[in-house]
């Protein structure tokens, strides 16, 4: 076996073991192809996601703090794929670093010490900064030439301003840079940072139909062939609900919504069968065939 170039501990989060299995699968495929080691944190559990921090801040911080201390058992910075888990873990580090009282409360709650030193990194950061865009471009076997991609950040990857430390919160470029390294063409579009409606998908789906429609319309207006996301919830709203959105607004998009690692996987030669393309609701195959990417 060839030696890995980089090694990370890995926190997949619940979605990646359920509705976003294809994100997990393609992430592992891409990292393997790039010779980046990923070792799953043993016994990791839910970060608390939106429900926990809406109900009880201490609960939310404690869940993440416990996961962070578990992550200490595995070597390497902590790689996170889901934008929400990433946001919760970073927020916890941020809050507990600046607030000693909270930190003590959390230590009591988890009956152990809090460790905040391990860097928490989103996949984008690992690819763009640690691995490097040049190396990524070199690893491309099948350039995604001619594929126009609307890179969708959603809310949590860059906000609130001081927390994620991933890129500029108002005008980020990291997603565009990563996908451009594969030869694809990121389009310039207006809604890459607007909210998709997120959790309202369950309680007030009307909100989602509205907000996600604006995102799809904007991507289409900009001439995108597809949307690229890094968040299971955004994916759900844009992909799973797309038909409903079309019906509610009397439009037709047929816009495939890929996880970033699915597109990267195509480019760096991960076997198509290992990218979970078949579990996408809006069928991407006609597009990929048209662009001769299959």
């Amino acid at each position: 076996m060839t030696k890995n170039l980089l090694n990370y501990s890995y926190y997949p989060g619940c979605s990646l073991h359920a509705s976003a299995k294809e994100y997990d699968e393609s992430t592992k495929g891409v990292f393997k192809a790039l010779r980046i080691g990923l070792k799953e944190v043993p016994d990791w559990f839910c970060c608390g996601a939106t429900p926990a921090h809406n109900v009880d801040e201490l609960l939310s911080l404690s869940l993440c703090a416990k996961n962070l201390s578990l992550a200490d058992n595995v070597e390497g910075d902590l790689a996170v794929a889901c934008a929400a888990c990433f946001s919760r873990l970073k927020t916890t580090q941020h809050r507990l670093t600046e607030n000693d009282i909270k930190r003590k409360q959390v230590e009591t709650a988890i009956a152990g010490s809090v460790s905040l030193e391990k860097p928490v990194k989103h996949l984008l950061e690992i690819l763009a900064k640690d691995y490097g865009l040049d190396r990524l471009a070199d690893a491309v076997k099948k350039p995604l030439t001619g594929l126009k991609v609307a890179t969708y950040y959603g809310c949590l990857l860059t906000r609130p301003p001081d927390v994620p430390e991933l890129d500029c919160c108002e005008a980020p470029t990291i997603m565009e840079n990563v996908i451009a390294a594969t030869g694809a063409e990121p389009v310039s579009w207006s809604h890459r940072l607007e909210c998709c409606g997120a959790n309202f998908t369950l309680s007030r789906p009307g909100v989602v139909l509205n907000l996600s429609n604006a995102i799809l319309a904007s991507a289409k207006r900009a001439g995108a062939d597809c949307i690229m996301v890094a968040c299971p919830l955004c994916h759900g709203n844009l992909d799973i609900r797309q038909k409903e959105i079309e019906e509610a607004n009397g439009t037709r998009y047929g816009m495939p919504v890929f996880y970033m690692t699915q597109l990267l996987g195509l480019a760096v030669g991960v076997p198509t069968g290992k990218l979970g393309l078949e579990s996408m609701i809006v069928n991407p195959l006609p597009l990929l065939r048209e662009k001769q990417l299959l």
Partner: protein, 665 residues
Amino acid sequence: MSRIGVFVCHCGENISRTVDVERVAEAAGHISGVAYATDYKYMCSDPGQGLLKKAVAEHKLDGLVVAACSPRMHEKTFRNAAKAAGLNPFLCEMANIREHCSWVHEDREEATAKAIDIVRLMVERVKKDKALQPITVPITKRALVIGGGIAGIQAALDIADCGHQVLLVEREPSIGGHMAQLSETFPTLDCSQCIMTPKMVDVANHPNIKLYTWSEIENVDGYIGNFQVTIRKKARSVDMDKCTGCGVCMAKCPQKKIKSKFDCGLGTRPAIYVPFPQAVPNAPVIDRENCTYFKSGKCGVCAKVCGPGAVDYDQQDELITEPVGAIVVATGFELYSIAEKPKGSSIKGYGEFGHGTIPDVIDGMTFERLASASGPTGGKILRPSDGREPKQVVFVQCVGSRAREKGISYCSKVCCMYTAKHTMLYKHKVHDGQAYVFFMDARTPGKSYDEFWRRAVEEEEAVYIRGMVSRLYQKGDKIVVMGSDVLVGVQVEIEADLVVLATAVQPRQGADSLAQKLGISYDTYNFYSEAHAKLKPVECATAGIYLAGACQGPKDIPDTVSQASAAAAKVMTLFAKDQLEREPIVARVNERNCVACFYCKKVCPYGAVEEKEIRDRQGNLVRVVAYVNPGVCGGCGTCQATCPSKSVELDGYTDEQVMAMIEAL
């Protein structure tokens, strides 16, 4: 044996609430060398000062300690009283038992003990005080005004009208500043050019004003009453004495596509140009960066067509040194640009507004040029992108201002008013158009200001939406403005044809380096600092330098003109005397001990230390020592703290005095 008087003030209850003032007076009476001690409710009042004067005479006092507030507050008051009582004023010192004691402590016992200690220290200091004589320096009765906007113009005219010579230095080819760019002005909507240009002409014709345009300050030496300023007169490439201002050169210049800075990039100008037709002086300059002759050596058309032969390609920058007695700084402001800012800048720019890449998103000054009858569109409101008349215009206030996350927390003060003005000018020109304004608060204090704003809302039908804008993006030929209406609690989206941003008022770039040349202080944003926010709003802490206009903080024209006239009045007050008296708290070098390391010269913030040559009778150089110019010395004592051979001491703060104070503790 000294005969010192100690006067303990109650300051109403400010001191007596926490300090037992009677006990302090009583204890002071027992300090050796104190001949008289008492307390009084308000020492600074007329009866209080009377009591002090009477005591000096009755008890033959030869030194005074007033235990009261900070010396910054009343040292002058009591030194004047001492002088009136026949004592040398520098034998009177303040013991600060208010700011340093009663205001910061709660425990009465401890505060009283501390107050007694403070008094004891000051008694020891006064024992070693020497009678000092005020320093007099001559005054050069000529003023320098830096910046030829309305502030500089007003200050220069006032000083010149009073009979004094003024040098007015402006770095652009013409005076006028921002006011020359404005269309009509709030709160009366009179035409800016119409009220501005007569003043510009007055400057040009005034026998007492020497105008240096296309010039900058290279260096400033000296001190109040006696500055030496070096002015860099940049090569204009046109001989001002020969030029008649006929304009043929500009008409014939083949290079015509240069974006006009004066028109905010909307119009174009030739390479040899005056920034605007009413420019003063009316002689053009050659923009050497864009001139074909300077770039390739070919062309030379302007020289050929110039009748009087005024074009001079070989002209060089000139350095001119002039003596002046006072300086008025009036360098004005510039507007925040929403473009991406260089890394490390504390200012962030607006990514959410596209970092300035959407052509029909303009700033307020650009709108002024669109609305100006002498502007690039002849006063028609037309979009920069396609020249169409916009039917929906969105104005956004507080862009950059009051936005800590963007690097600026202050209010820019003029935007609420000029945005209201813009909505009116727009409505007057585009009758079927609709103006929307996103605002945080409408801040309209000022005479006739709120009435003006209400007219915009109530009569001219501007729709004011309280809330901020989160994003602007281009959609077809519209700009979508996404914002919130916080009063109704809904999100708002408007498809606009033109968006006007009221961007923050900032100091000029390079304001800090000019301040360093002048030795004046500035705040974290680079606005120049006044000596006292309330009581010395036009003076700098550096004596002889005054502030006028927006370089000190955002200001509208009425405030700017008032401050300019106030600065001029300060200059005239200074020039009213022939000699200037200065406090003699200055450093003195013991030339015998000085080892000429010149650490003092390096650390002196006032540039007061010089190298002095000591020669024998034959004129041979024996030694070089440090010399402190008493006219320049600010009395800070940094040299004294730095000197390794203990050869420099500040009068009133000698090592001996400080040691005596420490020993008394």
